[in-house]
């Protein structure tokens, strides 16, 4: 039930700012959590959701602003401090110890002791009592590893209740649960809410957010967009407040949406029924020569998972791939590269750049990996390739010997693009290539994609910014909740059409 505005807030965060090297992760954000409410925190990648949670739980120190818990100003240095103040967190990748028993995980650090020694019987009895309070009946002496993620989530919540938490933070708890498991979790959440626990909920699944939340706070690029009552916030408004509107001066870029694509010959890459249990429901996708296929969908919609399966970065457990009409087995990145498919990951730092190597080395890495170690790319050859791409993409500073980790995000992205373009691929998959980079670099990358595709390169382009997808792509695949929900022709399409489609479509199609 929606709660009164007048209920005293358990947590008040005011003007929270956190500065990381080169970026403001949070910029004067306010956030209020009340007793007995389920409050969802929404936002795309880099919006600052996890930073806000970490500020609240003592993982990050705040640069400015104040945190008040139950009316008292507090500063947390460790998670233990936050827990002592009654704030517990359950993370997506459940932070328990799989090597220990269920009961122990519930009670760790709070075991029942008698004469200084742990009384195991009493400890397990206590653990069972806490689990039963959430409607979970199981043998507390069994190893945690033998239980499903869903049960582990509930065990983690029981643990939070052992410490009498008044605030429970659930960070993407449902991302690997199936429907019935989600139901059970929601039952527990409602139960706790009715007992007066304040619950902060994070999820990428819109349906779930609407189902469980009383209130929604939206963040974008480290700033607060607004706090809404869930019942009064239409879906498409929520989506557009999350992705924002691109008002920057990118209009000069002409749209490639109307460009005619010859789809008479076999597609460069075709996926049929490609899926993986618990990660992606079987989906189809095909890309023709010179075509840009956009994938629109929010974070966690399955967009990244789909392309990773197509590239062989992860292994699928259903479906087929065809390259130029012939069946192809792509289970490792090497298989994809040998078929002239390139993939630039959304996680630039962890999966893209090789930080300590120079710009030049990062650019030739793709070619070099293809050739093998014996046939070194000659210095002169490397110099000319590197110079060509630094110039063509406008990498700044234009110093090939500088370690790539010292470049800005936009320039690192250009280096990655250069790495793949230098291998002369037939298809390039770009996962969020324009995320978190400045407008100039964004325009450079968009221009390059449009130009190369006009010359025959096939592209799969993923972005949270729907304008960008509409402008670059001829066809858009729309995804939601780990499922492909449809395909749209982008010619004449408007951003709102896509948002409405994400918000409403699929719901009706699939029961």
């Amino acid at each position: 039930m929606p709660v009164d505005k007048d209920v005293a807030p358990v947590i008040e965060m005011r003007g929270i700012t956190i500065q990381f090297p080169g970026v403001k992760a949070l910029d004067a954000v306010d956030f209020t959590l009340r007793r007995g409410e389920v409050h969802s925190l929404m936002g795309e990648n880099g919006a600052g959701k996890s930073t806000l949670i970490k500020a609240l739980t003592g993982v990050y120190a705040i640069d400015s602003g104040s945190i008040t818990v139950g009316g008292e100003p507090r500063t947390f240095h460790t998670t233990a401090d936050a827990q002592a103040a009654g704030i517990s967190t359950v993370y997506q990748e459940v932070n328990l110890c799989t090597n220990l028993s269920v009961g122990e995980n519930v009670m760790l650090g709070h075991e029942v002791r008698r004469a200084g020694a742990i009384d195991w019987r009493a400890t397990h009895r206590e653990a069972a009592r806490h689990l039963e309070a959430l409607g979970v009946n199981l043998d507390t002496r069994t190893g945690l590893f033998s239980h499903s993620i869903a049960i582990q989530q509930l065990i983690a919540i029981s643990r939070a209740m052992v410490t009498d938490s008044t605030v429970l933070i659930l960070d993407e708890p449902t991302s690997s649960l199936d429907r019935s498991e989600v139901e059970q979790l929601f039952g527990v959440i409602r139960e706790l809410r009715d007992r007066g626990v304040a619950i902060l909920f994070v999820s990428h699944f819109l349906d779930q957010v609407y189902e469980i939340s009383d209130r929604i706070t939206v963040l974008r690029n480290g700033k607060l967009v607004g706090e809404y009552e869930a019942a009064k916030l239409p879906r498409n408004e929520l989506i557009s407040s999350m992705i924002g509107r691109q008002l920057e001066d990118l209009a000069e870029l002409s749209s490639s949406a109307a460009r005619e694509i010859d789809r008479s010959s076999a597609p460069v890459l075709k996926a049929s029924g490609l899926g993986k249990k618990g990660v992606l429901e079987p989906a189809d996708l095909e890309v023709y020569e010179g075509e840009v296929v956009g994938i629109a969908g929010l974070l966690g919609s399955g967009r990244t998972e789909l392309v990773r399966l197509m590239y062989g970065a992860d292994r699928s457990d259903s479906g087929r791939l065809e390259v130029h009409g012939k069946p192809a087995r792509i289970t490792t990145p090497r298989h994809a590269i040998d078929r002239r498919i390139a993939f630039s990951s959304e996680d630039r730092r962890a999966e893209g750049i090789v930080g300590d190597l120079s710009v030049a080395e990062n650019i030739v890495l793709g070619i070099q990996a293809r050739r093998g170690w014996l046939r070194r790319v000659k210095r002169s050859e490397s110099d000319s390739i590197v110079a060509e791409y630094i110039d063509a993409l406008g990498v700044r500073p234009a110093d090939p010997d500088r370690p790539v980790r010292n470049l800005s995000g936009g320039n690192q992205q250009k280096v990655l693009l250069a790495r793949w373009l230098a291998t002369a691929p037939e298809l390039i998959i770009l996962d969020e290539p324009t995320r978190g980079i400045d407008v100039g670099a964004k325009a450079d990358i968009q221009r390059k994609v449009a130009e190369l595709s006009a010359k025959g390169l096939s592209v799969i382009f993923i972005s949270s910014e729907i304008e960008e997808v509409i402008r670059l792509a001829q066809r858009i695949t729309v995804m939601r909740d780990r499922r492909k929900i449809g395909e749209l022709e982008s010619n004449g399409l408007h951003v709102d059409d896509v948002i409405d489609y994400i918000a409403n479509e699929g719901q009706e199609n699939v029961a």
């Binding site: 110890c97 799989t98 220990l100 760790l108 020694a117 742990i118």
Partner: protein
């Protein structure tokens, strides 16, 4: 609400269900049983081959000849359970041993020398723990520093062996309590007490459970609000204290201190702990397992003696066993990570 596996009905499924329950409750004991099995097989083979192998005397010898190794293994178990490793134990044992011998030979009473040597072991353990935690040095390198330091210090105390004439210390080895054919000396009792204390600490204190939690998932342990730093450093200190005690036991056993003692003992200790079923990645294993591992190690040595084979076979066999256990552990870890 939670639907767990429906109750089994047929007798077969009852047995399977019981097995399943056992597996999910005590999976981490399975490697220990494997070590016990190896021990039993070796005993059985020797008894069948030599006829008169098994005896209470043998059990006594097995315990007393390996008392120092058993103490080291208990300390090492703590460290390995946190996911670390301690290469310094052999050298620390040599250093504290020679320190003790040197002190008592200069007339220092054993009542002063023994606490001093244990404090020395603890200090080196503390140094390693601080390097690991505060200076972000890998446990391997940090304990290497401890190893170098202790070995050098041992030679600094004396370049050659020092005979011990202190009655109190010699009595630790010469006093024999007999129970029929079985006999035990105070050194053996010390080793067994260390085992018992180790078991109690790990199984019945929050400190011990935190050790397991850190080894299982250090980040989780931190997020659960457990005292990770203190516990990790304390694990190295415990290993240092054990190495100090092992120095005492070895000195009493040999009747002298020798600065070259225990070179390679760290490897033997690690091997014994791993054979005893402790996962090198941390979080799973038991002091009792490590004790079995030490007995397996000792039995291999005795068997090779009985067979009249080269002693070099001991290292090869121990290395081979280590390999088998490590590969099996790897398979188990990969399997269980696939489950989730």
């Amino acid at each position: 609400m939670t639907d767990l596996k429906t109750a089994a009905t047929s007798p077969l499924s009852t047995v399977l269900g019981a097995l399943n329950t056992f597996r999910s409750r005590h999976a981490s004991w399975i490697p220990v049983f494997a070590a016990v099995l190896i021990l039993v097989v070796m005993f059985g083979f020797a008894q069948w081959w030599f006829g008169n192998f098994l005896s209470l005397r043998l059990i006594s010898a097995l315990l007393l000849d390996n008392a120092y190794l058993l103490i080291l293994a208990v300390g090492m178990t703590f460290v390995i359970l946190t996911g670390g490793i301690d290469l310094s134990v052999g050298s620390v044992m040599a250093f504290t041993g020679i320190l003790c011998a040197s002190l008592v030979s200069q007339g220092v009473p054993a009542g002063v020398a023994v606490p001093l040597m244990i404090a020395a072991g603890a200090a080196i353990g503390l140094l390693i723990g601080v390097l690991v935690h505060y200076f972000d040095v890998q446990p391997f390198i940090a304990s290497l520093v401890g190893m170098f330091l202790a070995r050098g210090l041992a030679f600094l105390v004396s370049l050659r062996s020092i005979k011990v004439e202190d009655e109190w210390i010699l009595a630790l080895q010469s006093t024999r309590f007999k129970f029929g054919d079985f006999y035990i000396t105070p050194t053996g009792i010390i080793a067994l007490v260390v085992v018992v204390v180790g078991v109690l600490l790990l199984q019945f204190t929050r400190f011990g459970r935190t050790i397991y939690a850190i080894g299982g998932n250090e980040q989780s342990a931190r997020l659960m609000g457990l005292p990770v730093v203190r516990t990790k450093i304390l694990a190295y200190v415990i290993s240092g204290v054990c190495a100090g005690l092992a120095g005492l036991v070895l000195t009493a056993y040999q009747g002298s201190g020798y600065p070259l003692n225990g070179s390679g003992a760290e490897l033997d200790t690690i091997a014994a702990v791993v054979i005893g079923g402790t996962l090198l990645t941390g979080g799973s294993g038991y002091v009792i397992g490590s004790m079995i591992g030490v007995f397996v190690y000792g039995t291999i040595a005795i068997l090779i003696n009985f067979l009249g084979a080269e002693q070099s076979w001991k290292r090869i066999i121990v290395g081979g066993l280590l390999l088998v256990f490590v590969v099996v552990q790897r398979v188990i870890v990969t399997r269980s990570s696939r489950r989730t």
